[in-house]
């Protein structure tokens, strides 16, 4: 009788803990939904709609540019068949477009993939170590250039010398386009040299340390063939003119 009383007491405590835990979970489950109305300003809904609308418009414009460039390429090819002068100029133009990043590039290279940690930081953790910052992307791009990359892209955006990589809070923008993790940084070039040099660089080793400690994604792969898209920017300068 006494024994059962004690065991029952233990179970009552266990039941209390369980019920409390259950209540806590319920609270946490519904808290974000309930608080949404207060924490999230109503204007955010509208801002997100505007953002998505603009992205959709930009995607449409990007596709139209690709189509128009293809059409222009066909016209130029036809024109090249009619005259030697046009043929030589068209060929030169093709090379210049490649050098200016206005053509898709394919060849051997490497891919660096970075992504935020899937682990939620505890109160004692610095959350900064759990996310990928715009500065990481800039440094990786700079490393790739340093070790001989001939063409670089972050996700679907070609990165030229003048491509800004910035952040707006947790959102990273490349060429004024919103990037979503994982950030896949592709570089064309000598894959052995790129992979060996990047993997031995101090900055990349620091990222690997963050991967081991904070569980961010950080990987480097050698590839026999990678592709980077063409830049969709207009090549003409607005302020700079040819100097005599």
């Amino acid at each position: 009788m006494i024994r059962r009383g004690r065991t029952g007491g233990v179970f009552l405590v266990a039941l209390f803990v369980m019920v409390s835990g259950f209540g806590y979970l319920l609270a946490v489950q519904f808290e974000p939904t309930v608080n949404k109305a207060y924490v999230v300003p109503a204007q955010n809904v509208e801002l997100v709609e505007i953002m998505k609308g603009l992205e959709s418009e930009n995607d449409g414009a990007a596709q139209r540019i690709v189509d128009l460039r293809e059409q222009l390429g066909e016209l130029e090819s036809r024109g090249a068949a009619t005259s030697d002068e046009v043929r030589v100029l068209t060929q030169q133009l093709g090379e210049l477009r490649e050098r200016a990043g206005l053509a898709e590039a394919t060849g051997p290279g490497v891919i660096v993939t970075l992504s935020d940690s899937s682990r939620t930081p505890t109160l004692s953790d610095d959350p900064n170590y759990f996310v990928i910052h715009d500065g990481y992307l800039r440094s990786i791009v700079n490393l790739m250039r340093r070790y001989g990359a001939t063409a670089i892209a972050v996700n679907d955006q070609r990165v030229l010398g003048n491509s800004p990589i910035v952040c707006a809070g947790p959102i990273i923008l490349v060429n004024s386009s919103r990037m979503s993790p994982p950030y896949v940084i592709t570089a064309l070039g000598n894959s052995d040299m790129l992979a060996d040099s990047i993997s031995q660089d101090v900055f990349f080793r620091v990222l690997e340390m963050y991967r081991d400690q904070f569980e961010i994604t950080c990987s480097l792969e050698k590839k026999t063939s990678v592709s980077v898209p063409a830049s969709l920017d207009n090549a003409a300068f607005k302020y700079a003119v040819g100097a005599k």
Partner: protein, 223 residues
């Protein structure tokens, strides 16, 4: 004697079982909600979303410029399908534009000049880090720079920039501090972009690295 009803003991176990079941049932849901909350942009600072929207609007303008330009080229090419001279003229014009872009010809235009000096004296001398320099260049590109040079070395698409001891390596060339950064482009916007509170100039200032920004009517950057 056989007991007919459930004892309080059995009821407790039953309740315990149901609660455990519901806790287990709710846990994945909770994880999903937290993950979705992180992913949705509706929970972000409106200031960040406005910044993204402004960038997307700028992107829209940039894409429109390119779309209009290529569209005009297509139209001109169609019109000049039997006119070799017109085709040559069009191709030469684009080749000139691309030569300017790829650094094959010297360029001139309005811009800003930033002179960066480290403090070599004192107990702890200041030193410009790679990240500082990359941030400065990035802020210039983001605010409308078209061409940039560091101590007269023009940056190209393949130029890396990093410190090598006291030197600064720009692409395959070596230069030393102090660093004169010339940027041709939208002078007003670049100047404003650099001076945003908490921006790169404030960062350099905090690190005791001097940065003097001057607007220049005509800068010249060679290849």
């Amino acid at each position: 004697m056989k007991r007919t009803g459930q004892s309080p003991w059995q009821s407790t176990i039953l309740i315990f079982f149901f609660i455990s079941f519901f806790v287990g049932f709710l846990l994945p849901g909770q994880a999903r909600v937290v993950r979705e909350m992180k992913q949705t942009y509706q929970n972000q600072d409106p200031k960040d979303l406005i910044r993204v929207i402004k960038d997307l609007q700028q992107r829209k303008q940039d894409l429109l410029v390119e779309e209009t330009d290529v569209s005009q080229k297509v139209t001109q090419y169609l019109r000049a399908s039997d006119d070799t001279a017109a085709q040559v003229s069009q191709l030469q014009h684009e080749a000139t534009v691309l030569s300017q872009r790829t650094g094959a010809v010297p360029l001139a235009g309005p811009g800003i000049r930033i002179t960066i000096r480290e403090q070599s004296s004192g107990v702890s001398p200041s030193m410009l880090a790679d990240e500082d320099l990359l941030l400065l260049l990035n802020d210039l590109w983001a605010s409308g720079a078209e061409v940039i040079s560091l101590n007269g070395i023009r940056l190209s698409d393949s130029s890396s920039v990093y410190r090598a001891g006291l030197n600064v390596r720009v692409g395959g060339k070596v230069t030393r501090m102090p660093l004169v950064v010339d940027a041709i482009g939208d002078t007003e916007n670049m100047s404003k972009g650099l001076q945003i509170p908490g921006g790169v100039l404030d960062l350099l200032n905090l690190r005791r690295i001097g940065a003097i920004v001057q607007k220049v009517n005509l800068l010249r950057i060679s290849d």
